[in-house]
C-alpha cells in the first residue's frame, strides 16, 4: 500500500530531479492542457518525443513508467474501445448493430490511447522525480495568490505536509491492527464482498481512534513548540528558481508553438 502512495518517489540527482518543483508541477498541468491540441500523428509524435526526452533525462528505468500505466490499463482500454466502436464516419470495415468499426474510429482509438499514456507518463515523471514534500511546497507557492481571496493558504499547506508525514505512520498502524485482528481469527482475504467489507470496519474504528489521539498529541506538541498560526513565521525550506526551470518553460512554449503549427497540416 505504501508503494502506491508515496514510495513512488525515487531519489536521484538528474536534471529533472534538480528542477524546481514549482516549474515541474506547473508544466505537468500545462502538458495535460496542451495535449488536447494534438490531433494528428505529427503532433502526437512531438509530444511523445517530449515525454521520451523527459524519461531519458530523469535517468529512471522505463519499467517504472509502465508500472504507472498498469493500474489504469482497464480504464484506458475501455475508453479506447468506446472510441473505436462508436466513432462514426470514414470507411466502415465492420459493423454490428450500433457498433461500427471504421478507419477513423481506429485512428481515434490510437490517439486516445496515446493521450492517456502521455498523461500518465508525465504525471509519473513528476511524482518519481519530486519528493512529496517538495510537491506540497510547490502547491503552497502556487496557491499563494489565493491569500487575497482569504483562502487560508498557510494552513492548507501545513495540513498537506502533516498529512504526507503521517501517511507512513498510519500505514504501519493499519498493518499492526490488521495483524492483531488476524491473530484473533479474522480473515480479510476470503468470503463474499459484503463479509470482506464488514471485516474492514474493525480496522477502521481503532485506526480512527488512534488518529484522533495522535492529532491531539500533535496539536499539544506544536503549541509547546510555539506554533501560533502562519503570521510572523519564517520558512526553513526555500525553493530556488534556476536557469533550467526557465529552460523548461521555454521548451514548453516552443512545443506549444510547434503543436499549433502542425495541427493544421
Amino acid at each position: 500500500m505504501n508503494k502506491l502512495l508515496l514510495g513512488r518517489y525515487l531519489n536521484g540527482n538528474s536534471l529533472i530531479h534538480r528542477m524546481d518543483p514549482r516549474s515541474k508541477l506547473m508544466m505537468s498541468f500545462y502538458f495535460i492542457c496542451i495535449i488536447f491540441l494534438a490531433n494528428n500523428y505529427i503532433t502526437y509524435a512531438i509530444l511523445l518525443l517530449l515525454a521520451l526526452c523527459g524519461i531519458v533525462l530523469s535517468k529512471i528505468k522505463i519499467s517504472f513508467f509502465f508500472k504507472g500505466i498498469i493500474p489504469l490499463i482497464w480504464l484506458i482500454l475501455f475508453t479506447v474501445a468506446l472510441q473505436v466502436f462508436f466513432t462514426p464516419g470514414g470507411h466502415v470495415i465492420w459493423s454490428y448493430g450500433p457498433l461500427t468499426l471504421s478507419k477513423a474510429g481506429i485512428v481515434n482509438g490510437v490517439y486516445v490511447f496515446f493521450r492517456f499514456v502521455l498523461i500518465i507518463v508525465m504525471s509519473t515523471l513528476l511524482t518519481l522525480t519530486t519528493a512529496p514534500l517538495e510537491i506540497a511546497d510547490a502547491v503552497e507557492a502556487l496557491i499563494k495568490p489565493l491569500r487575497y481571496l482569504k483562502v487560508p493558504v498557510h494552513e492548507i499547506a501545513l495540513m498537506l505536509s502533516i498529512a504526507l508525514r503521517f501517511v507512513p505512520t498510519l500505514m504501519d498502524e493499519t498493518v499492526k491492527i490488521m495483524n492483531a485482528q488476524k491473530s484473533r481469527g479474522v480473515n480479510f482475504g476470503e468470503g463474499s464482498i459484503i463479509s470482506r467489507i464488514k471485516a474492514v470496519i474493525p480496522i477502521l474504528i481503532p485506526l480512527f481512534v488512534s488518529a484522533f489521539n495522535r492529532a491531539e498529541d500533535l496539536a499539544v506538541a506544536m503549541e509547546a513548540r510555539g506554533y501560533r498560526g502562519g503570521d510572523g513565521r519564517t520558512k526553513f525550506r526555500v525553493m530556488k528558481w534556476h536557469l533550467r526551470d526557465t529552460g523548461l518553460i521555454i521548451t514548453f512554449i516552443i512545443i506549444t508553438i510547434l503543436l499549433l503549427i502542425f495541427r493544421n497540416y
Binding site: T169, L218, E223, A224, G226, G232, T234
Partner: protein, 276 residues
C-alpha cells in the same frame, strides 16, 4: 544554584465538568540548572503539572512564575519561549516531514531568519549525533532516534528549561540510558534546567532532586537518597524502589547490617566488597 527559575504557589487544577481535583494546592520552587525528577503513579497529576508550567492548560487558581515572568494569558508566549518540551510518543511530536524540517519547525514559529535557522539546525543535529539522518523521514528512524530529534528540536530553541514528559517511557532500556546520558551531557554544556517526569525509578535516582506526587499533592521531596530511603511509603504509592535499595532491603531482612542510608549502585557494590 540559588536563583529560582520556576516558582509555583498554591497551584490548583481540575478539568472542567469533572469533580476530582487533579492538583491540590501545590507549591514548590525549582532552581536554575537543577535536574528535577517528578515521579508518581498514573493519574497522580505529573503530566498535568508539566502542561500547566508550559501554559498548555489553565490553572484553577495559584501562581506560576517562570524566570520572573508571571504566567498568564498575556505572557503565555514569553513563557513558552523559555520552555521546551519532549513528549512520550516519538511519532506524535514529529511535525516536519524530515529530520531537518522538524528541528526547524520551532524556529520557524519564532520567526528566526533562515540563515540563523540553518546554523542552529545543524548545530542541534550535531549535538544529538544525527547529522547522517538530516534528510531522513521519520518512518525510517527508530524510536530512540526520533526522540533524539525531539531533543534536538528542543535544544535548537535554546530554552532555559526542558521538560521531559515521560520522554523515555516508550524506549527500550538501552535507548533510555542513552537518551538520559545525552540530556545530561547537553545540560552541562548548555546549562539549562531539566524537569523529568518519569515512571522509571532508576532514571529518577540520577536527578538532583526528586518530587513525589500523589493524588495531586507533593508528598515528599528531596535528594534521591532522602526520598528513596523511605521504602514503605514508596510501595503504597504504587511506585517501584531503585534496584540497589531492593537488594539492601533483602539483605537487611536476612540479618545483615546494611548502612542506614540510601546506597547508589556503586556505593552498594563498594559496601558488598568490604563485607567480611
Amino acid at each position: 544554584m540559588d536563583n529560582k527559575i520556576i516558582s509555583i504557589e498554591n497551584l490548583k487544577f481540575q478539568y472542567p465538568n469533572q469533580d476530582n481535583v487533579i492538583l491540590n494546592d501545590i507549591s514548590f520552587d525549582i532552581f536554575k540548572g537543577e535536574w528535577i525528577a517528578l515521579i508518581g503513579h498514573n493519574g497522580s497529576g505529573k503530566s498535568t503539572l508539566a502542561r500547566l508550567i508550559d501554559g498548555l492548560l489553565k490553572p484553577l487558581s495559584g501562581e506560576i512564575i517562570v524566570d520572573n515572568i508571571n504566567l498568564n494569558y498575556d505572557t503565555l508566549w514569553d513563557v513558552r519561549a523559555k520552555i521546551a518540551m519532549v513528549f512520550q510518543n516519538p511519532d506524535n511530536q514529529f511535525v516536519g516531514a524530515d529530520v531537518m524540517s522538524d528541528i526547524a519547525f520551532g524556529l520557524e514559529n519564532r520567526g528566526i531568519p533562515r540563515e540563523e535557522m540553518i546554523v542552529r539546525v545543524n548545530e542541534a543535529l550535531k549535538l544529538v549525533n544525527m547529522e547522517k539522518f538530516a534528510e531522513h523521514d521519520p518512518s525510517h528512524l527508530s524510536g530512540g532516534q526520533k526522540q533524539r530529534v525531539a531533543i534536538a528540536s528542543a535544544i535548537a530553541l535554546e530554552p532555559e528549561i526542558i521538560i521531559l514528559d515521560e520522554a523515555t517511557s516508550m524506549l527500550d532500556p538501552e535507548g533510555r540510558i542513552e537518551l538520559i546520558n545525552l540530556i545530561n551531557k547537553l545540560r552541562k554544556e548548555k546549562n539549562f534546567t531539566v524537569i523529568s517526569i518519569t515512571h522509571d525509578i532508576d532514571e529518577a535516582t540520577l536527578a538532583d532532586r526528586v518530587l513525589v506526587l500523589n493524588d495531586g499533592e507533593i508528598i515528599t521531596q528531596g535528594s534521591p537518597a532522602e526520598v528513596f530511603y523511605n521504602i514503605n511509603e514508596m510501595n503504597t504509592l504504587g511506585l517501584d524502589i531503585p534496584y540497589p535499595q531492593k537488594i539492601a532491603n533483602e539483605l537487611k531482612k536476612r540479618g545483615y547490617k546494611v548502612p542506614n542510608k540510601y546506597l547508589t549502585r556503586s556505593e552498594l557494590i563498594d559496601w558488598l566488597c568490604q563485607l567480611n
